[in-house]
Symmetry: C2
Subunit: 355 residues, 2 copies
């Protein structure tokens, strides 16, 4: 049995639970390495992965005897097979943050046990990354840096937001990424004022600001980076905000180290925003791992202590509605005394010339 499932079984003991059903796909991947659809059942006597006929062949290819996981095609399990899984069992954990109300009711019927909320048990464990996970995130970040370097050398007159987003995706996929980590954001000029935005056919113009928010996956692990560059010239109105955002990111990365209280750190930054009369449009950052947004959340309502070997994206932004916005973001590895940027693309105010 692998060490993560052993860890989970120990947790169940201390929580006085006799089993758990894991439904969140990235929790299943974390615990088993499997990315196929299904549910993982940690039962008193065995570890079971219930999938369906579409996936059973590839699941059985991946599992080895050491995994101590038995895979079933759900078609081959009947009512009594399901009831037998937790026979003579009282309390079983479930993932209330992931399971729908409808499926919760189905679980009750199918397994005939008492289901207990587990408050993000696996998600909380995923905050601290091991060596292998950090290696994967570093590789995803390295591909992201290369994609950014490639694109800012290849922006040409007449290009649209969509075309640039597509070139970034292509670069990532053909330079080792499994996939994008999220839909790429490329926004020009006034479109940068909306922090969540989908690229359009808007054509690049002299004087534009370009906002990039890009990331990819490597072995399932994500990277996340945002940059702005300026086309041909930097308008005066952009400079002050650019420098403010850059300075805020620096202050956050200095404060967010092992032992830091997230609430305290973020409250300080909120005060700074308020002094400047800038609206806070989104969180200052988030954990990065198998999910692009995972724990910890960098918001002032999070009274949590940051720990070494967490991986976080720090992304302060300022948005002037209807005019423009600037967000700078890097993926960081939290260390004992500092927070190390894993994405390494340059952050000096960059002006590109249209070829």
């Amino acid at each position: 049995m692998n060490s993560r499932i052993k860890w989970l079984r120990n947790q169940l003991l201390s929580l006085k639970l006799e089993g758990i059903i894991i439904s969140n796909p990235n929790n299943i991947r974390y615990l088993t390495g499997l990315s196929e659809e299904g549910i993982l059942i940690i039962a008193p006597k065995e570890n079971i992965f219930v999938t369906d006929s579409r996936y059973i062949e590839s699941v059985n290819k991946k599992l080895t005897i050491d995994d101590e996981i038995v895979a079933y095609d759900s078609r081959n399990l009947n009512k009594y097979d399901y009831e037998a899984i937790f026979m003579n069992t009282e309390n079983v954990g479930f993932e209330e943050k992931y399971v729908t109300y409808e499926n919760y009711k189905k679980y009750l019927q199918t397994y005939q046990v008492n289901f207990v909320e587990t408050e993000g048990l696996v998600e909380n464990q995923r905050i601290i990354k091991d060596e292998e996970e950090i290696k994967n995130i570093k590789e995803a970040c390295s591909i992201t840096d290369k994609a950014f370097e490639y694109i800012i050398r290849n922006i040409k007159t007449g290009m649209t937001e969509k075309e640039i987003a597509f070139e970034i995706e292509k670069f990532m996929i053909f330079n080792g990424a499994d996939d994008l980590a999220f839909d790429i954001i490329v926004a020009f000029g006034e479109n940068t004022s909306m922090p969540h935005y989908s690229p359009t056919d808007r054509i690049i113009q002299k004087g534009d600001i370009i906002q990039f928010d890009i990331g990819c996956k490597y072995n399932g692990y994500c990277s996340d980076m945002s940059r702005v560059v300026f086309v041909e010239e930097v308008k005066e109105e952009y400079k002050e905000i650019y420098n403010f955002v850059l300075q805020e990111q620096k202050r956050l990365s200095e404060a967010l180290k092992d032992g830091a209280n997230i609430k305290t750190v973020i409250k300080d930054r909120e005060t700074e925003y308020r002094l400047k009369n800038y609206e806070i449009m989104h969180a200052f950052g988030h954990g990065v791992g198998l999910d692009i947004h995972e724990l910890p959340l960098l918001k002032s309502n999070q009274d949590n202590i940051l720990k070494e070997n967490s991986v976080i994206a720090i992304e302060p932004g300022v948005y002037i509605p209807g005019k423009f916005g600037i967000r700078i973001e890097d993926t960081y590895l939290v260390g004992k005394n500092f927070c190390e940027s894993i994405t390494k693309s340059k952050k000096e105010c960059t002006v590109i010339k249209l070829a």
Copy 2:
């Protein structure tokens, strides 16, 4: 107020519900046209869309006075504002198929009412498409046909599954698609035996079978089409199964018309599969609309009557584990007397030459 929200309000009346919270993003899009994150609250006195600071600017740009929807940034609502929404209200509907158990409990706390399951109220209404929706699906299908025609003319020696998938994506995005409808499947040779598969760096070879499963979105509406083509030659073992799958699709499309009972139609096809000793690895099809997989489901456990102006993908497939698989799929519009294929790419056994 638009006709869909009026319809929903009438439904609530007949269900004796005084309001409903809509959380499923595609249900929100169907009812309001909004694609931003948030929840739609149909309350006794008004229609409310609660979003957050990231989206409020774009939501307010889209809504007009005729929509009769008030948008709020959730930061500006406090405990008492939420309680006031359903003040003096007893029974409010919620989407138990979408809302997590955790959020269900939060709803109870926040709104202080009794929440009632609504059994896919909006999803069921979405089965029958109106003129505008059919127009959008037809356009998505037309882009898909063009992408398929383009790719089979442009497959070259040395290409990988990933490269071909990428060329299809690029074609779709630059020929009017908003986005892909799902991750494109391109599988060569033995990789076709797994119905759910992600393209790899496997290089194309003479004698390969190529399975395509492709689709895109247009104005949010999906298309879905699968084809197989053969590289340089058609191996004898492929021919029988190819013809079987093609014939099964034809029989399904003839039987699946207005008034047909899905259970009866599918049970007939299952018998045919059993006679041939072919395993049934997945459903014979599914509804297509704002979601790539929506109602109705074409499975023998669905005792439902098919209705005119439903849009369905019909996708019989046969898979020989470890060897190969063949799936043929089209998107169809269900009519009074027939089921009309909206994807129109040719289905004769196609052999391509590697350039």
